[in-house]
């Protein structure tokens, strides 16, 4: 599903770049760092808007500030290239914007961008460990497709959890292991379901403590049966209860005839009071 997603959008700031017009709004990285490693044929189709060098307007002549992250300014930015087709907007990164603008404002702008016609698709990068869960949840809820990347078991691999919400309301989820080659092509490796089986088998393979001893701690089958049949002396099972409460015939009976010595009155030890 990851590959379908990547091909469906036909772009990707740090992944494969193919086809249509792509605008990249850079907050986190400089233009040179972004272009590093990409082929010149690909970089021609990219329009990189530098919001990295002065996003807050401290130098006095900023290129693009974080305050300009609104529908009108972004639409003007994208329409600068004067192409008839709507473009794809890549935002690196949404975390930067979320630090300076309130989450509701950012969500509103993203939703307006989606509804407006200037931009065909918006791809945003979010560092989830930088924000509270509520903020992350709100932004992720807006997205039609969500790719969560986590480090994989081996060094170069990573695990991607893909959630796709289609227009009909159907939600599809998938988990895949992928790795990125030096020329930025994404290779989907196997699914991680077998990794869970691996952890189960390691638990079962725990060492058996009764092995490798000089004495025998194991039970044979007949001994195991006898052990299970044994009733413990102080366990109050149902049979014992009934046996005690209802003494059957043949069990010991106690016959008692009251003796004069047993009739000891605490208040009249000599038994000579006439009360």
């Amino acid at each position: 599903m990851l590959s379908e997603l990547l091909q469906g959008i036909e772009s990707g700031g740090f992944l494969i770049i193919r086809g249509k017009l792509i605008h990249i709004l850079c907050f986190d990285v400089s233009e040179e760092e972004l272009k590093d490693g990409l082929k010149p044929s690909d970089t021609q189709r990219l329009h990189i808007h530098n919001a990295y060098s002065d996003p807050l307007g401290w130098t006095g002549h900023p290129n693009f500030t974080v305050q300009q992250f609104s529908l009108e300014d972004l639409t003007n930015l994208v329409k600068q290239t004067s192409q008839p087709k709507p473009a794809v907007l890549v935002i690196d990164s949404l975390s930067w914007i979320l630090r300076h603008k309130t989450p509701p404002a950012v969500c509103q702008t993203l939703q307006q961008l989606r509804k407006g016609g200037a931009v065909r698709a918006v791809i945003g990068l979010l560092h989830t460990d930088m924000h509270q869960r509520g903020t992350v949840g709100s932004v992720c809820h807006l997205a039609t497709s969500l790719i969560s990347v986590a480090p994989g078991v081996k060094g170069k691999e990573a695990v991607a959890r893909v959630t796709k919400r289609s227009k009909s309301g159907k939600v599809m989820q998938d988990e895949e292991i992928f790795c990125i080659a030096e020329d930025f092509t994404v290779t989907i490796l196997s699914k991680p379901s077998h990794a869970e089986h691996k952890t189960n088998s390691t638990e079962e393979e725990q060492t058996d403590p009764t092995a490798n001893l000089t004495f025998n701690l194991r039970l044979s089958d007949s001994e195991l049966e006898a052990k299970q049949k044994l009733t413990l002396p102080f366990v109050f099972s149902k049979e014992k209860k009934t046996a005690l409460l209802h003494p059957g015939p043949g069990s010991g009976r106690i016959l008692y005839e009251p003796d004069a010595n047993d009739d000891y009155d605490q208040e009249d030890p000599d038994d000579d009071l006439d009360v």
Binding site: D36, G37, D54, S95, K156
Partner: protein, 278 residues
Amino acid sequence: MFTELNSILNTSPDSYTRGEFILVSDRQSDASFLIHHFLSFYLRARCKVCFLGLAQSFCHYSAVSQRLGVSLTQAKEKGQLVFFEGLKECLSVLTPKENNVESEAMNFLRDPPVGLRSLYEFVRSSVIGSDNMEEGAEQWGPSVLLVDDLSVLLSLGVDVGAVLDFSHYCRALVCSQVQGNMVMLVRCNGEEDDDDDDDDDGDIGSDVLLKGLTHQCNLNLHVQGLPTGYCKDIHGQMEVCWKRRQGDAPHMQKNLFQYKVYDKGASFFARGTSSAVL
């Protein structure tokens, strides 16, 4: 300058990658010995160093650098080192005297919401200002910014977002524009992965700051105590984490070393190969 650390990082005063942001972080430990290493390293590499010493006085750094074979007073006189003594500047803001010209850089002490823009302007003037040199002055290499340490700013009341903005702007200026290097120290107190909501804001702030800076940096040196406890011969462990290496494949590379700090240096070795063990 620690020669073993140079071989681990594959650098030397004669050849080092430019445009790098090196983040030195520690958790319940003290990584300031790495700041002394980088200070002596870049002074030996004949770079122009701008040092924001917010945690200690100039005499402290001078004394330690003397042991590493570098004289800070000489570097300052020659114009190679621009030293910002945070402790002194704080006093001049808080107790202004008539003759003292108040430096603008620490004006966030009076008004923390203002942020660190003036501190950034100070850094900018010392990094860019080196272009306008008098004739006869020595030519220095690329500019380097060293900050010791950013967590002090948090404890002085500055917001985490403001510190992240400051480091972003410094990176845009020093690493991208001037193609120099930047080394910053961040200290955390809390335990890792502590989701307890009862933590006081200080711990959460420094953790968020560390996470934000880790995303921005090229190389992260994370210093921690040993997970097994105190040891006389091994002072701690250091994790070297390479990110965003230009020209390499886009994935992270991590290495773990243990270290011991001596009087005139520090030695780094792989886990289990300390001289006390072997």
